[in-house]
Amino acid sequence: MSPVTPTHNDDLVLLGREPISADALVRHVRQSHDGAVVTFDGCVRNHSRGRATLYLEYESYESMAFEKMKEIAASLHTLFAIDSVAIAHRLGRLEIGETSVFIAVSAPHRKAAFEACRHAIDTLKKTVPIWKKEFFADGAIWADGELPPVPAATPAAKPAS
């Protein structure tokens, strides 16, 4: 998957169309000074609100989404006593059972790794501009989502000109 950008320490952030290699992400964050790796594997479910899902399609505002994912990874280091982070999100058509998002967090101790991984997926679902379309036998709908928080207006929000 690309692009591949090292952020904090050995963090890894991926956004692309190729299948996600969970093993590679876990290997990436797991170092000899870690005592825990916590992962979140978000996968495509075969039903939504009582209807049978055929497949999903993800699209994103790619450049902004990639930056927002990097911001999440960076924020985990300030909020939790963790070692490193790997976050990958897939785009395009995904079949039932495939991984759409995978997060791996390593830490010396498990508590921080659990909390950071939970924070990462919760924040991703609220702030990263990615959209999911659900396809059913009788049609397709854009999934309900969350409206990202927007900073309050400030006088400084004027252009330099």
Partner: protein, 81 residues
């Protein structure tokens, strides 16, 4: 002055295109830019309260004053994960 306007998700389907260039006057805000888009595609107007905007890839309030060359996106509720 001109802005590059991007639409995503459901909004892209309603706008009929993923992006377009929109002319605006100096001092106009993101809210006014949205109104210009909605005047061309009236179905967009109904989504005003259920989208957020970004300016140059940062979430931005509707009152943000635009500069020429800005990239503005109208973003429906996000549903990644």
């Amino acid at each position: 002055m001109q802005a590059r306007v991007l639409f995503f998700g459901k909004l892209k389907e309603i706008a009929g295109a993923p992006e377009r260039s929109v002319e605006f006057r100096p001092g106009e805000t993101i809210a006014e830019l949205f109104e210009r888009c909605a005047s061309q595609k009236p179905e967009l107007a109904a989504f005003r309260s259920s989208v957020v905007a970004s300016r140059n890839q940062e979430f931005a309030p509707w009152t943000t004053v635009l500069a020429s060359g800005d990239e503005v996106a109208f973003l429906p509720p996000v549903s990644g994960g």
